[in-house]
């Protein structure tokens, strides 16, 4: 276990170095980063000014070592728009995003687990149809469109929820539903299929034949197995939702990093974009590491020793 842990941590570190390299070259894809960072109609003088200010005139090797050196100290330069340290701005926005993501995740788990268990344990019934339906819809309805339609129905027509902003528990419901709908579908499919699979196992049949009532069998034997599968995808879904929050936070004016990415991209504020990209990727890398560790702890069959 210790050896496994050690190698996974080294691996995650390497991955982060890779992420830094990608973000460095990402803004240089067109070959002229100064041009990229000014508005399309900027004058040549303005481009030259930017080139000078950002040090794009210097040798690439020097720029690269400076970038990596800064990154090691958590310094990603100044935001062009806010004129403040980029990473600091990102960190200020993180709590709002985590709050929204956790709310979306709770919504998804709260509905998918019962729906998946009901559907999986009663194949061919209305519950099964519902579970399969939500599984499919989660995959096919784009969250940005769902968000707009939720606003039309529940904010504009019914007036139950605010159309945008962050304030109080009521304002988080629509964005959380819109963001959580894709994971809801995925979790439902997963829970349903693993319940179907476990149902045929000897130990479940034994439990039934001993006369244990259904609820207990489902909780003690079936759900325990399902939870192992769930742990492995919750981490992945967290990463997906960081991406999805770009739309949802922009639509609902939620002050998190998703909306910040959109604003930074529109304002061509690429130092800020780089800081967000590094933070998000780092977040996902750490999350995957934690998921693997949790996985090893929950499932006694897994002994990572190679």
């Amino acid at each position: 276990m210790q050896r496994y842990l050690f190698s996974r941590i080294i691996q995650s570190g390497l991955l982060m170095v890779g992420v830094l390299i990608i973000t460095f070259f990402m803004v240089r894809l067109t070959g002229d980063p100064a041009r990229t960072m000014v508005p399309r109609d900027a004058s040549p003088e303005r481009v030259e000014e930017m080139r000078e200010a950002m040090g794009f005139n210097e040798p690439l090797v020097l720029q690269f070592t400076r970038y990596m050196g800064g990154a090691a100290r958590g310094n990603f330069g100044q935001s062009l728009h806010y004129r403040k340290p980029a990473m600091k701005l990102v960190l200020e926005r993180v709590p709002a995003t985590i709050e929204l993501t956790l709310a979306a995740l709770s919504f998804a788990l709260l509905f998918s687990i019962p729906l998946g268990i009901l559907g999986g344990s009663r194949p061919g019934t209305i519950w099964d149809t519902l579970a399969r339906g939500f599984g499919l819809l989660g995959q096919t309805i784009p969250n940005f469109w769902l968000a707009l339609m939720l606003i039309v129905v529940f904010s504009v027509n019914l007036g139950w929820f605010p159309t945008f902003g962050r304030g109080g528990i009521i304002s988080i419901i629509l964005p959380a539903v819109a963001l959580g709908f894709f994971p809801l579908g995925q979790f439902t499919r997963l829970v349903r299929s693993s319940v179907l699979e476990v149902r045929g196992e000897d130990y479940v049949r034994t439990a039934y034949s001993k006369g244990i009532d259904e609820r207990q069998v489902l909780m003690r034997h079936v759900f325990r197995n399902v939870s192992i599968t769930l742990v492995s995808v919750v981490g992945v879904q967290f990463g997906y939702m960081l991406g999805g929050s770009i739309y949802i936070e922009s639509i609902f004016s939620w002050p998190g990093i998703g909306r910040m990415i959109n604003e930074a991209v529109q304002a061509r504020d690429f130092p800020l974009v780089q800081a967000i990209a590094v933070f998000s990727a780092g977040f996902v890398v750490v999350l995957n590491l934690l998921t693997d560790i949790a996985y090893a702890l929950i499932d006694p069959r897994i002994r990572y020793e190679d």
Binding site: L15, L136, M149, V284
Partner: protein, 299 residues
Amino acid sequence: MRIDALDQENVRSPFQRILRVIFKDKAGLFGAVLFATVLFSAVFAPYIVPHNPVAQSLDASRQPPAWQEGGSWEHPFGTDNLGRDMISRIIYGSRVSLTVGFFGVAIAMSLGMLLGLIAGYVGGRVDNIIMGVANLFLAIPYLLLVVVVAAVIGRSLINVILIFGFTNAPLFVRITRGEVLRIRKSGYVESAVSIGARPGRVVFHHILPNLIGPLLTVATFEMSGMIFYEAGLGFLGLSVPPSIPSWGNMLAAGRQYIQFSPWIAAFPGLAIVVTSLGMNLLGDWLRDILDPKMRRSAS
């Protein structure tokens, strides 16, 4: 094999069997019909649209759909903020979506297959390097990567196709490599190698044909994913130029009028749902036919 012949299904001709599978799976058939409809409207767009999709008419702007008060059958789905006919724009929009989906998947699949074959077949350090880079790209939140690259290289159809082609390749690399490793261990590949088949022959005659099934299934889901993401990019104003009617661009425009003219955003979204539903059902069905081992636990 002969023993299996007792089974009624195997007595029929292959063609009859395929027909049977098609009609047995109602959901798959439904998916195929949906997808065929979208494909039809993309191919024959110029002949079936009732109006010019880019013709503006400011005195006919924001007309509601025909079945709502104030709507007319002149514009069945209503008009947008510039008075352009919604249904004609949606029909034309399918061209952008399918083009991006098709070429994006074609690039991602060829690139991914090539690198995956090399990684899986050559192994060793080459494998480590290829997989290291692939996993690196899979570690960055996908949408973030796509949005940033799109913002850097600018709006055009070619750029969007290239972005999806390259960013989806790592997934195909991973799947191809996994399959290659699995197939390599199988008896028939070992036999082929042991009777002296050269690597080229092994790859093209034994490994590639076995890859088609799983990859084609993934390709369907990925294509639906790309259609999804293209619309998303358009929604953020990062996909094809605003002058081209695409579902994402229409959604972006519709968002501003969501309060009083919700249909401008509703219909392009529905078009995405229909396309994506069709492709997902089709993908499930393909998986059932092409890969009996991966059958859905549903049936």
